[in-house]
Symmetry: C2
Subunit: 184 residues, 2 copies
Amino acid sequence: MSLPHAILTALLEKPSSGLELTRRFDRSIGYFWSATHQQIYRELGKLEEAGLIRALSSAQPARGRRKEYEVLPAGRAELTDWVGRSEDPKPVRDALLLRLRAAAVVGTEGLEAELDRHLDWHRGQLAEYEDIEKRHFPPERDAPGDRIRHVVLRGGIELERFWIGWLTQALAEVGEPPPAPRPR
Amino acid sequence: MSLPHAILTALLEKPSSGLELTRRFDRSIGYFWSATHQQIYRELGKLEEAGLIRALSSAQPARGRRKEYEVLPAGRAELTDWVGRSEDPKPVRDALLLRLRAAAVVGTEGLEAELDRHLDWHRGQLAEYEDIEKRHFPPERDAPGDRIRHVVLRGGIELERFWIGWLTQALAEVGEPPPAPRPR
DNA sequence: ACCCGTTGTGCAACTAGTTGCATAGCGAGC
DNA sequence: GCTCGCTATGCAACTAGTTGCACAACGGGT
């Protein structure tokens, strides 16, 4: 149940249309909570119906017509409330760790390429985050809200570093031939 | 599409009934790919129908009767194939990072407790993994398949360490009062 | 003989996310 | 003034995962 809150957050930062939101999800918010345009349009409809946001200006709502939304006080209240709510951590589901576990049973054939691919991807992602950090958070300049945003970004950065480190270890095990059998 | 492969892996390690699988998912495999008993029973049905696994022995299949499954050659082949297949990394969805981002906009009220709770949980998980490591992977004793399994476990361990480190940082930002306004 | 808790399997209905496609409006090029 | 491509919104059908509950078998205990 986080998508509506992701959208409220994005809309508070800047009122937007569905497509704009989609694009912003592809960059910033989507790094931590991705969503397709479909999900976003549907959720915008629900949020509007629930009275948490409203469409701005443009009189005739028509199909191909751009619609901007802004957050209503009720929406802000809901988001504020949600921030303090407690929610159990969702169970982990990581396909790559699972795959490696399967490889422990049926052999690692073909796995190296996949690990390489992921390593590349995470390196790319890390570079992107570090770039954002350089541009948005130069040293010693964080305003109150920015300090929090900076922590979030550091989370992303450290997560990518974790993956890079782990994938490197995993590749060492997978790439390497099995150890010579010990004399018995 | 990883659940069937998780089940195949588990069944290759040891033929089991649905409930047994459920319990094993709660311990080992489920650390990386969790599943409820519902999902498991449904998937077992599909896998059997697809001819990848089969029920052992017990003649009359009846409702409240225990059914053990084992993997057929086709199932092993499918799993072997899957290990080498490439799959795009699934988009990240992390509620906690999102929540902190929302807090940057509407304030961090009530968030500290939640971060504490998560910190506790991750510390517990880390302790559990470290315990497993001690019991299952004593130094210098890894058989071929075990080396891979050990890498997977180390992934879990390092991931928990990442969260613990990050949550500690986040708590420092959230707990601390906002910095005194600089003189202007 | 019967009840009762535990073990084990399963259906049904729901929520969230994905994929593929339809369709309206809008401006530029010819 | 018509067509084409881009922007923008949206429906419908599907897949995966969750939740709540039903019900059969089995092994005591009384």
